[in-house]
Subunit: 187 residues, 4 copies
């Protein structure tokens, strides 16, 4: 390798620092409140974004919050007491948009995390948390990135979601050593 | 296509008829009882077998039975009040064997569905339901198949599991029209 | 259990016999031809229907046909030389409809397997294979079922897809014993 | 929320900085070399760790490296020309250990990323990249974390893997704008 790990990693970490600094405290707090206050949390995204949401859903369940990914084996019916959390850089991904439209029949609050506050999904959302990463749309205000495709968004999303989980953990006064009790224990 | 759908399908249906006829009523009844009586159901298999188990887990949740696939996003901890349902033609698949061994620490009853009653998994199981389909091991008493690989087992498994679900539905006097209430409604 | 396995299973098998008898030989043959002739096969459905498609995609790969489920980890880009196989009883499932619309930008032939030949998806399809199972829409010509929700469709779909796979296997003169070479060997 | 996003996030970012600083340049370079030099890459882990590996596998495919997750729909057979990449904090997770043992029949090089260089998996590995995060085992040299369970490891793993991907991208002189060609385009 002509590039060392640390030289490559420093560029990535610098991007993440910039991106995290751009997150709005109040919007993040409202997002955490709505997730904590929901009867059930449903999450949807596409590709690597969906993987980060799956990681979040897994952690929410550990924290005692009933959460599901749309499409997973034991997904229940969504209701008006639930939230539908959609992550999408562009806010225009076809499957999340289709799901958001179907959800309107049942009345859950839509929560949007992404870069594009003028998107279809942002327009349907009750609350938005902006992560201003570069998208395919190259919108004004998006942060540049040296990384391939949407890597910066996906990394920032994981860190943002895990920060929300950490805020909720503190809010619920959860003791870390108790957490393994709800954790899958077979694999 | 030189082979017509119906000529090909007739061969497959004949295999399934033979296979279904070989299922033992009492063993099937015990399997259904144990699934209905469990606090939670965990299922594990490999490849297409796992897909059939996922279909079963989905249906069990619709019937009001808490069920999970091992490895899915919101898999909880297994306990001694639960069952671990393992499907494996040969009863020797590496991942299910590993999971079965880990499960012994927690005490759930292991249930085995497959062809090989002398297998490692059958030896650990509290109850076994034999589907005598051809396996890679070519054991005595296995039914022959013209189909590729383990297709006959996978098809027989889906039909067996859906028959168990149907028995449970009748046992619980569930009204079909009520079922859609628990069904995912977003996609 | 008040219902025996064999009494429950006989009802299911009778439904499947009726359903399989209703499949059109010529439409099935065209479907198999198009799948065999495609550069790549992409498959999409929802819930248990998607699980049956995943089983088919797995088998197609064993038969040397490059196939993917929409949404899976290493899904490549779709092109005009590919086919998009959609299974949906009603032909109106939101996610498959959204995917079908996106696909039109890239030009693959859409193939539809389901019950509703007047549906949105059927209307976009180059070829349709009808499995006339009961849907939520209760359309004329749909077969009745004693089973919960869309079980009859999902079972019929697996048997139909595995019959198509069997036709393709014969068409390609594949020797069964050669098949395990492409099969995953780790689990 | 009594904790603000930025106060929570600062603690997480500080943990990640410490952790990234502990990565060995030479071990990382060897890991990237082996991944780039492999015929095919297979990845396995458990839970949130598996999700991070899935994100990596997705990106590797975009970079033109044939990569799979163990258990995915179109997983092919592994051979001696491939690598089996295992991520596990403790190096003792049951399923990865079982897969590693099966893999020995076929001869791929095992690559280990995790915290425990004295683990079963590290013992089987041709190359190891240590991320010294806290594990359930509380081994000497592990970094402390305020976060729940293995969050620090999972975050560090994503950043480490994406850094490896970035090194490979530079090594191959890939132009970012060309990358979307191999990217899934349906959802």
């Amino acid at each position: 390798m002509s590039t060392t790990f640390h030289s490559a990693n420093r560029e990535i970490m610098a991007e993440l620092e910039t991106c995290m600094a751009a997150i709005d405290d109040q919007a993040a707090s409202e997002m955490a409140d709505r997730i904590l206050g929901a009867r059930k949390v449903f999450a949807i995204g596409v590709g690597r974004v969906m993987l980060m949401l799956q990681a979040f859903v897994k952690r929410l369940n550990h924290l005692g919050i009933e959460a599901y990914c749309v499409g997973e084996i034991n997904e229940p019916a969504i209701t008006k007491d639930d939230v539908l959390l959609i992550a999408s850089g562009s806010g225009e991904s076809a499957v999340p948009v289709a799901i958001a439209k179907v959800s309107e029949k049942y009345g859950p609050a839509i929560l949007y995390i992404g870069s594009n506050t003028r998107s279809t999904i942002a327009g349907m959302a009750k609350a938005t948390l902006r992560i201003p990463c570069r998208t395919k749309l190259n919108l004004p205000g998006e942060l540049a990135s040296v990384q391939p495709m949407s890597s910066m968004f996906e990394q920032s999303l994981l860190l943002t979601l895990d920060t929300l989980a950490f805020m909720i953990l503190r809010e619920k006064h959860i003791v870390l050593s108790d957490l393994w009790q709800k954790h899958a224990n077979l694999e």
